[in-house]
Structure formats: structure tokens, C-alpha cells
Symmetry: C2
């Protein structure tokens, strides 16, 4: 049995997703912090783990895996208890679509490297960052709220147990609050996020709980 190791950064949304997923399937892991603010992700040691220079990287089952959602899908396939994806193809399609509405359409645009580039081009970098975050997180979550106006939405994004969509949503809501995005028009999102916060697997993965 090989040790499961997560190369992690406490505030990374992608790492946060994988922490939630590992907790939900009850997979014990050791965390190795990669300090993005000190540019450790661009050092030779981390680039040898992942040529993209991104976190998370997960060592599990004797393999080295990258890309948070590909890891969540792997856990869904190999850990039968996960429930990360529903059993019907249309349900799985919907959960993936909701997941990607966050993980493709919001998160990459607000990633550290992208926003650094936006700040560098602006006269007032801090204001540019704040405006950028509020626009793209705000617009993206407003669209997601409308996608959740759907009969398959339950206590969680899809039905009454957490799926991959909730694993994507919670770190994005954490970021929305960090940048003071107005969520008053997103009551479904706020309610689902609150329900997730009550689950130990989500609570233990929160950045404040894993901050070095």
C-alpha cells in the first residue's frame, strides 16, 4: 500500500476541491504544502511533479495524478462510495456541466497567474484585480444560479447528496466571499454552500483549517 500524498496550497481552489473529495471518500493523506506566493510551483522540484507547475498533484495508488477534476473523476471510478456522479448518463452530464460552469468558466479566469497579468497591465493593480474578480466570479455565479433553477436540484446541486458539482461550488463561493462578490441574487448557491459547510468532509478541507 503506497502512501497517499497531496501537494497542496491552502488557498488554491483546485487543491480545496481535492481535499473535499479525499475527505468524502475517507482517503487518508499526507499534505505537502507548495507555497505559490513564494513561487515554489515554478521551481524545478514542483515542475518535475507537474510540468504545468500547478497544484494539486496527488500521489495515490502508486500513480502521480494532476488536474483536480480528473482526480475527482478517478476517485469516483475507483472509490465506489463516492457518489460524486449520479448513476444515469443525463444526471452525470448535468453534474459535469455544473462543475465545468465553475471549473472552466470562472476559476481559470481568476487564477493567480492570469490576474497577475491583468494587474501588471493596469495603472491601479489592486483596483483592477478587485474589479476583475467581482465581474467574472459575479457573472459566473449568476449564470450558475440560473442553471440551478432546475427540477434535479435538491438539497445539493444535483439531488440530495454532494456531487462533483458541490465539490467545485464550495471553493468558488469561498473565493467569492474573499473578493466581496455580491451573492444576494444567488439564494440557491448560498443555501447549498451552507449545507455543505455542515458536512465534516467539507469543513475539514476549508482553507482556514489547513493553512500552515
Amino acid at each position: 500500500m503506497t502512501e497517499t500524498v497531496l501537494y497542496d496550497y491552502w488557498r488554491s481552489s483546485a487543491s480545496y476541491r481535492v481535499r473535499i473529495a479525499l475527505n468524502l471518500v475517507g482517503e487518508a493523506y499526507r499534505s505537502v504544502p507548495v507555497d505559490l506566493l513564494a513561487a515554489a510551483h515554478r521551481g524545478p522540484e514542483h515542475l518535475a511533479r507537474n510540468p504545468q507547475g500547478l497544484v494539486p498533484v496527488l500521489d495515490i495508488d502508486g500513480e502521480r495524478l494532476t488536474q483536480s477534476l480528473a482526480i475527482v473523476e478517478y476517485l469516483a471510478e475507483t472509490r465506489a462510495v463516492s457518489g460524486f456522479l449520479p448513476s444515469d448518463p443525463i444526471g452525470r452530464q448535468r453534474v459535469r456541466a455544473l462543475s465545468y460552469a465553475v471549473a472552466m468558466d470562472i476559476h481559470p479566469v481568476c487564477n493567480l497567474g492570469v490576474v497577475a497579468h491583468v494587474m501588471a497591465a493596469a495603472e491601479d493593480g489592486e483596483a483592477a484585480r478587485r474589479g476583475w474578480m467581482q465581474k467574472f466570479i459575479g457573472d459566473g455565479l449568476a449564470a450558475l444560479e440560473r442553471m440551478l433553477e432546475h427540477p434535479a436540484t435538491g438539497a445539493f446541486c444535483h439531488g440530495d447528496r454532494p456531487t462533483m458539482a458541490d465539490i467545485c461550488l464550495v471553493p468558488q463561493v469561498y473565493n467569492a466571499r474573499r473578493w466581496e462578490v455580491d451573492l444576494s441574487d444567488c439564494p440557491r448557491i448560498v443555501a447549498i454552500d451552507a449545507r455543505c459547510a455542515e458536512i465534516d468532509a467539507f469543513a475539514r478541507a476549508h482553507p482556514d483549517r489547513v493553512k500552515p
Copy 2:
């Protein structure tokens, strides 16, 4: 039997992926253009189809689906011939990771709406757009090239038949060429793209072939 309808834009990478995937599984479809340049995607008719206001939207099997990669996964699950994902969990994890290295880490950052925002903030909008595209597509494909330095890479991104990773790669290479990104350090990517171009399902999906 319901008609399969693709709400499409000829130059959208996400639409291009779904065209390739539909062609590869031999699914006949009718194309309905949504003119992004005329902002048709933000009109009430398209927002009723997809609250995100994005293309593609696919009507298939009596359902309405959004999010290109969730559609590709749906076709992989429901059309046994697809081969879009390998049969082993580690292989599937790798194909998804390669796919997301394009579909999450390059494409959203270079999306029309995001780049319009970058241009609006810049003194010389055209130069800002060009610099932005070259940086993010260039850096992203360079990282992907290193991910392809892997024993599981074959004639295509994973093994010797096209998978979801190739479906993501080809539209991104089209965009790289459009923005004159230097691909001289990406010989694997260039070779795989050339092999895909020889396949009718890819060739028929090319923007130049479907441009209204």
C-alpha cells in the same frame, strides 16, 4: 427519434470540439448558427437555451445539453464506438488531465468575453489582445507538450486512436495558428494535430468548412 441539433458558432473552440465528437461517433446533426459577433448568444432566445449564454448547446436524445466536455463525456458513455476515453481508470485520468490542460487552463482565459475585457482596459486594444493570446496559448501548449513526453503518448495524445484529449487539442492549435503563436518547441503537438487533420471527422469539423 428526436432530431439532433447543434447550436453552433463556426469559430468557437467549444463548438468545434463537439462537431469533431459528433462526427467521430457518426451522429448526424443539424447546425443552427448563433452569431457571437452579433451578440446573439446574449439574446433572450439563446439565454433560454443556456443561461450561461455560451455555445455549444446540443439537443440530443430528447435532452438539451450544454458544456462541450460534458457533452463529449455523454457521447462517450452512450455511444459505445467513441473510444473517447480509454478503458482503464489511470488512462482515463490521463486523458481527462490532458483535456483539462487545454479546456480549463488555456481556452477560458482566451475566451471572447475575457479578452474583450482585457482590450477595453488597454491603451492599444489590438496589441493587448495579441500579447494576451500569445502568452497564454504559448505557455499552455508548452506545458502540454511536456505532459505529452510520456510513454502513453502514441500517434495521438493517448495511444493510437483519437481521444477526448485530441478533441480538445485540435481546436486549440487552430487558435494558436490564428494568433501566430510560435509552435516550434511543440513538435509532439504539431505532429498529433497533423495526424488528426487527416481524419475526415476532424476535417469536416474545421471552422473553414462550417463557416456560414
